[in-house]
C-alpha cells in the first residue's frame, strides 16, 4: 500500500487528490490537484453540488447542531438543568475568564501536560531505541512492559499519591506514564520495521554503532516517531483530564468535577468545550510541526 496515501489525510490533501494518488502509485507528488469535475463534462450543478463546492460547507452541521440546541432551550423542551442554553454557557465562560479562574485552570493543566509529556516522550524515545536495537534487552523487558502498559492510569492514582505525595508530582507522573508507553511502543515498532537494506548499506560503509544510530536509524524512524508522539499527546491530555476529575485542587478536570458537584452544568459545558478546543489545538499544532519537520520528504 502506498504509504503516501495513508498520510495524505493528515497532510490535509482533499479526497480527490488522494484518489489520484492511488491511481498513480509510487509517485505521490506527481498528482497535481486538478478538480475531479474536469474529467466529467456532465457535472451536476444542482443545489447539493453547489453546496459541496462551497468553501464553508464544513461549518454546516456544527451550525445546525447549534441551532437545534438554541431551539430546544428556547422551547424549554428540556429542563434547564439538563440542557443549558448556549448563551448561558458563554456567559458563564466569560465570567470564569473575567475572574481569572479559567485562565488559571487552563494554564495549570497545560503546565502539567507539557512537563509530564516532555519527560514521558523523551524517556519513551530513549527506551524504544534501546529496546529496538538490542533484542536481548527486549527479551528482558517485554513482558513487564506489556503488562505495565495496560494498567489504567485512573487506577494508579492512589499508588502514585503514596509514592510521590500530593502535589504536582504525581499528576505529572501519571501523564508521563501514559506518554512513555505510547511513544516507547511507537519507536520500538519503527526501529523493528527498519528495512534491512539500510542496515546493510551502513555495514558496507563500515559505520560504527554510534554512526549507524545517528545517521541511519534516527532519521529513518522520525515519521513514525512523530506520529506516535502526536497520539501520545492526545492520550496524555485525556489521561490528565481524567486524573484531575478525581484528585486535584485545580485544573480543567477539577473545574468540571466541581461544576458537576455544584450542579452547574454550564460550568461543565465550558470545561467540555475548552477541553475539546485545547485538544484540537494541540493536535493541529503538532501536525503543523510534523509537516515542517518532514518537509524533506517532499523533495
Amino acid at each position: 500500500m502506498n504509504p503516501g496515501v495513508l498520510s495524505a489525510g493528515s497532510r490535509g490533501l482533499g479526497l480527490a487528490e488522494q484518489a489520484r494518488m492511488v491511481v498513480q502509485p509510487g509517485r505521490p507528488e506527481a498528482a497535481t490537484p486538478t478538480p475531479v469535475r474536469a474529467a466529467r463534462p456532465q457535472a451536476r450543478r444542482g443545489l447539493v453540488a453547489r453546496w459541496l463546492d462551497w468553501r464553508f460547507s464544513s461549518w454546516t452541521s456544527p451550525l445546525l447542531v447549534l441551532a437545534m440546541w438554541i431551539a430546544v432551550t428556547q422551547l424549554a423542551l428540556a429542563p434547564e438543568q439538563i440542557l443549558v442554553p448556549p448563551w448561558q454557557v458563554l456567559v458563564s465562560g466569560w465570567e470564569l475568564v473575567q475572574s481569572g479562574e479559567l485562565g488559571e485552570h487552563v494554564s495549570v493543566s497545560l503546565v502539567r501536560l507539557v512537563s509530564g509529556f516532555g519527560f514521558g516522550s523523551v524517556a519513551g524515545i530513549a527506551f524504544g531505541l534501546l529496546v529496538g536495537l538490542s533484542p536481548r534487552l527486549d527479551d528482558y523487558t517485554a513482558p513487564t512492559f506489556q503488562v505495565l502498559r495496560q494498567i489504567p492510569s485512573v487506577a494508579l492514582i492512589p499508588l502514585f499519591i503514596l509514592i510521590f505525595g500530593i502535589g504536582e508530582t504525581f499528576k505529572v507522573a501519571i501523564v508521563a506514564k501514559a506518554s512513555f508507553f505510547v511513544v516507547a511502543l511507537a519507536v520500538h515498532e519503527a526501529v523493528k520495521s527498519l528495512p534491512a537494506r539500510y542496515l546493510e548499506v551502513a555495514a558496507v560503509l563500515r559505520f560504527s554503532r554510534l554512526q549507524v544510530i545517528r545517521r541511519v536509524v534516527l532519521p529513518a524512524i522520525v515519521p513514525d516517531t512523530l506520529t506516535g508522539v502526536r497520539i501520545a499527546l492526545g492520550r496524555s491530555w485525556m489521561v490528565l483530564v481524567g486524573a484531575e476529575l478525581l484528585a486535584a485542587e485545580n485544573g480543567l478536570g477539577q473545574m468540571m468535577e466541581m461544576g458537576r458537584q455544584m450542579f452547574r452544568l454550564d460550568v461543565v459545558m465550558v470545561g467540555v468545550v475548552l477541553t475539546g478546543l485545547v485538544g484540537l489545538a494541540l493536535d493541529r499544532g503538532f501536525r503543523l510541526l510534523e509537516a515542517y519537520l518532514m518537509r524533506w520528504q517532499r523533495r
Binding site: 492511488v22 452541521s61 513482558p143 513487564t144 503488562v147 485512573v154
Partner: protein, 256 residues
C-alpha cells in the same frame, strides 16, 4: 531445536524483571505501616486472590465487565462501520458528519460523562453508550479511509462489469476495505475496554471489575484493589492479543 531453546531463553529472560520487581515490592512492604498500606505484602495478595477466585466474586465481576465491554464494542463498531461506509459513499454525508466527528473526538470521553449521565441516566444504558462511543470513533475513521482507498482500478473494473451499487459494495468495496476495518475494530477494542472501566468507576453500582476496584478502595481492602488492577491489565492484554491474532488470521492472504 535452536529456536526452541531461544524461545525458552527469551521467556526466562522476560521473567527476570518481574521477579526482581516482586522482590522489591516485598522489601517495600516491610518498611513500615505507611508503606504496607499500598505495598501490600505478597502473602496477603496471594490469600486475597485465592479468596476472590474461590467464592466466585472474581468470575462474576470479570464476566459482567467482559459482557458489557463486548456488547458496547459490537454496537459501537457496527454503527461505526455503517457510518464510515456512508461517509465514504456520499460526499454529502461526509461533509455533514465529518466536522461533527472531528470536533467531538477531541473531547476526552471522561469529560462527556456528566452530560451522558444527565441525558441517559447512570445505569447500564449509559455505560453501554459510553463504550459504544469509544468504539465508534476509531471504527468510523478506519472504515472511511479503507473504503476511500480502495484502488480506483477495482472500482473501474466493477463499473465495467456494470455491477449495481449493492453488488459493488458487497463484492468490491467491502472485501478491499476489510483489512482497514479490522484494524479499526482492534483499536476500538482497546478504547472500549478503557471506557468500560471508566463507566464502571463513574456510573451507578453494578457488577463489574471496575466496581470491584471502587468498592475495595472504599472498604480499604488494598489487596483487592491491587488484584483488581492486575486483573484489569491482564484482561486488557488478553483482549488485545486475542483481537490482534484474530485480525491477522482474517487478513492473512490479502495483499495490503
Amino acid at each position: 531445536m535452536k529456536s526452541l531453546a531461544n524461545g525458552a531463553g527469551a521467556l526466562l529472560r522476560g521473567l527476570l524483571l518481574p521477579a526482581l520487581l516482586l522482590l522489591a515490592w516485598q522489601w517495600a512492604s516491610g518498611r513500615g505501616a505507611s508503606a504496607a498500606y499500598v505495598f501490600v505484602p505478597l502473602e496477603q495478595l496471594w490469600t486475597g486472590a485465592g479468596q476472590l477466585i474461590a467464592d466466585g466474586t472474581l468470575a462474576l465481576h470479570v464476566g459482567a465487565s467482559l459482557e458489557r465491554a463486548l456488547t458496547g464494542l459490537v454496537c459501537g463498531a457496527l454503527l461505526g462501520v455503517a457510518t464510515g461506509t456512508l461517509m465514504a459513499q456520499s460526499r454529502v454525508a461526509e461533509r455533514l458528519i465529518g466536522p461533527l466527528y472531528h470536533s467531538i473526538r477531541q473531547v476526552p470521553l471522561l469529560g462527556l460523562v456528566p452530560l451522558i449521565a444527565l441525558w441517559a441516566g447512570s445505569g447500564e444504558f449509559a455505560k453501554l453508550l459510553i463504550i459504544g462511543i469509544a468504539a465508534f470513533y476509531p471504527t468510523v475513521l478506519n472504515t472511511f479511509e479503507g473504503m476511500r482507498q480502495v484502488d480506483l482500478r477495482y472500482r473501474e473494473v466493477g463499473a465495467m462489469l456494470t455491477l449495481t451499487r449493492g453488488q459493488m459494495f458487497r463484492r468490491v468495496l467491502l472485501p478491499a476495505a476489510l483489512p482497514a476495518i479490522i484494524t479499526g475494530v482492534t483499536h476500538a477494542q482497546v478504547f472500549a475496554w478503557l471506557a468500560c472501566l471508566g463507566g464502571e468507576l463513574l456510573f451507578a453500582a453494578a457488577p463489574g471489575i471496575g466496581s470491584l476496584l471502587l468498592v475495595s478502595e472504599q472498604t480499604g481492602r488494598m489487596d483487592v484493589v491491587l488484584l483488581s488492577v492486575l486483573v484489569i491489565s491482564l484482561l486488557a492484554l488478553a483482549l488485545n492479543l486475542g483481537f490482534t491474532r484474530a485480525a491477522r488470521l482474517l487478513v492473512r492472504g490479502r495483499s495490503a
